[in-house]
Amino acid sequence: MELKLILEPLLFSAQKPLTAKELREVLANAATAEDAGENTKLFKKVKEEDVTAALEDLAREHETAARTFRLVCVAGAWQFVTQPEYAPWLKAMVGVKNRPSRLTQAALETLAIIAYRQPVTRAEVEQVRGVNVDGTMQTLLERGLVEQSGRAEVVGRPALYSTTVLFLEYFGLRGLEDLPAAEELRRIPIEKPVAPITADAGLATTPPEELQQLSLEAAVPAKLEDSSAAPETTPLAG
C-alpha cells in the first residue's frame, strides 16, 4: 500500500494537526501491534523525510483535483482545511471563528520586519519604520505573535525579538521560509543605482508658490494618463 494512502485517512480523523514525526510514530506503532499484518510491518522503519514527501505529494494531489478542501502544513503540522471561498456557508453553520481583532497597519508592518529580520532588536525595527514601536511591540507581545528570544551582544544588551508558532498559525504559514518573498526581504542590501538619484537638482531653489503650480501641472497629465489607461472611461474628455 502506498504511504500517502495511509496518511490521508490518518489526517482525516486526527483530532489535531499532526507533524510528520507524529505520523511516523503512528506507523511504527501500528507495525509493532500484536496482530500487525505484513502490510503494516512494511512501514515500521519509514523515515520522517519519506512521510513529509508523501504528505507533499498528497497535498499536490488534492490541489490538482481542485477539491473544496485541501491538505496544508501549518507550523510543521498537517491538517485538512476548507478552501476560503466556502467561508460564507461554513460561517452560517459553525459560526464566525473566534479570532482576535485584525491587526492594525502599524502592527502588520512591525510584524513583517520582525518576521523577515528575526531575531531583531526594537531599535532595528524602529530604524526601518522610522517611528517609535513601543506600543505596537507591546500589542504583538501580548497577542503572542512575537516573543523575546534573547539579547543582542552589543552595548546595553537589548532584547531580541522573534515570531512565535502562533504567528505561523495565525497567518497559515508552514514555516518562516514560507513567508512571501522571503529571500528578497531578509538581509540583502539595497543596491545603489548608477544613475543620479535626484533627477533635477536645480529645482532646489524653486519657491513654494511656484512649486505648487508645478505639482498642479504634474497632476493634470497624470489624470489624463489614468483615463487613457482605462479605455472604458471617455478618453481625454477635458
Partner: protein, 315 residues
C-alpha cells in the same frame, strides 16, 4: 484647505508620508526629486499643526533631514562644509532613499500578511469528533506478579550476558533511579502504554537495565503504574493504573522515603541486582561517602544509592 480635509490620511510615520508623496508624484523612488519632496513634506507637517494634530518628533527629524539635503544641494560641491562624522561617500540623499526603498518593501510585505490574515479567517480546519472505540476485552491476566517481572527482566539481561563474559568495563554510575523514574513516567505520559521490552531498548548495559527496572518497581509500588499482560504469555505492558488515570503530582520526597522502606521488596531482587552490579560495586563504595555529603539536598538520589547498596553486600 477644504481639499486637504478629504485627502487627509493618517500616516504611520514620516517614511509613510514620504512614500505617499512619492506615490502622488507617480515617480520611481530612485528618481524622486528630494528637494521638491522636502517642500511638500514640510507643508504637510504645517498642515498637521493647523489641524492641531500632535506632530510626532519623528516627523520633525525627517523634516530637518530633508532641509539638510536641500541646503546641501544649494551649494556647489567645492564649497560644501565637510561634516566630520560623515564618512567618505555617505550621501544623505542616498541614505534616505535606501531607507525609503527598504520601508516600502516591508510595507508591501505587511500588505501580503494582511491578505494572509484575511484568508486565514476564512479557512476552517477539519475537526472530527472523537472516535469512540469499545473498550478492549478485559485483560485475561490483569495482575502481573513480581516473579513475572523478574523473569522478564532476566530475559532482557540475557542480552548483555555475552558481552560481559570476557571483558569487564569500568565506568562511572551514569544512571540514577530517580532519573529513570522520570524516563518511565515520560514514556507512559507520552504514549499511554509501553511494552516491557521497549523500556529497555536503549539500555547500554546491565547497570542501566537494573536502574530502569528499579524505577519501574518503585512506580508500581507507588501505584503510579500498572502492569498487565493482555493475554497469557504475551509481553507485559506497562500503563497508567486503571483506577486513577491522573498521574500523581511530583512525589520526589515520598519516593525517597519509599525507597528506604522498600528494602524488603528489593530483597527479592538482590540476586539479579547483585549480578549486574558486581563490576560497579567497588567504584560505588568508594564514591558513596563523598557523594552523600554532596547530595544531601537531592533525596531521591540518596534513596537510589541506598537501594544500590542493599544489593552489594551479597556479592
Amino acid at each position: 484647505m477644504s481639499e486637504y480635509k478629504v485627502q487627509f490620511e493618517v500616516f504611520e510615520g514620516p517614511l509613510d508620508l514620504l512614500l505617499y508623496l512619492i506615490k502622488k508624484e507617480e515617480v520611481d523612488i530612485y528618481e524622486v526629486n528630494l528637494t521638491k519632496l522636502a517642500t511638500q513634506f514640510i507643508e504637510y507637517v504645517d498642515l498637521m499643526r493647523q489641524f492641531d494634530l500632535e506632530v510626532a518628533g519623528e516627523f520633525l527629524v525627517m523634516a530637518s533631514t530633508l532641509m539638510y539635503i536641500k541646503s546641501k544641494e544649494l551649494l556647489p560641491v567645492d564649497q560644501q562644509a565637510v561634516v566630520e562624522e560623515e564618512e567618505e561617500g555617505a550621501d544623505p540623499r542616498w541614505e534616505l532613499i535606501r531607507q525609503l526603498v527598504e520601508y516600502k518593501k516591508f510595507k508591501d510585505a505587511a500588505a501580503q500578511l494582511q491578505t494572509l490574515e484575511e484568508r486565514q479567517e476564512n479557512v476552517f480546519p477539519r475537526l472530527p469528533g472523537k472516535i469512540e472505540f469499545h473498550e478492549e476485552a478485559a485483560p485475561a491476566k490483569p495482575e502481573v506478579g513480581i516473579f513475572d517481572l523478574l523473569n522478564a527482566v532476566n530475559g532482557i539481561l540475557r542480552r548483555f550476558a555475552d558481552k560481559t563474559a570476557s571483558t569487564r568495563e569500568i565506568y562511572e554510575d551514569k544512571w540514577t533511579v530517580s532519573e529513570k523514574i522520570e524516563f518511565v513516567r515520560s514514556q507512559i505520559a507520552e504514549r499511554g502504554t509501553v511494552r516491557f521490552s521497549e523500556l529497555f531498548e536503549k539500555a547500554a548495559n546491565r547497570a542501566e537495565v537494573v536502574c530502569t527496572f528499579l524505577a519501574l518497581l518503585e512506580l508500581i509500588r507507588l501505584k503510579q503504574l500498572a502492569c498487565v499482560q493482555p493475554e497469557p504469555f504475551a509481553e507485559i505492558e506497562i500503563g497508567q493504573p486503571v483506577a486513577s488515570a491522573e498521574p500523581a503530582a511530583e512525589t520526589s520526597a515520598p519516593a525517597a522515603e519509599a525507597a528506604v522502606e522498600e528494602k524488603s521488596e528489593v530483597a527479592a531482587l538482590e540476586p539479579v541486582i547483585a549480578e549486574a552490579e558486581t563490576e560497579a560495586s567497588e567504584a560505588d563504595e568508594e564514591d558513596d561517602d563523598d557523594e552523600e555529603d554532596d547530595d544531601e539536598d537531592d533525596e531521591e538520589d540518596d534513596g537510589a544509592e541506598a537501594e544500590a547498596d542493599d544489593g552489594q553486600p551479597t556479592t
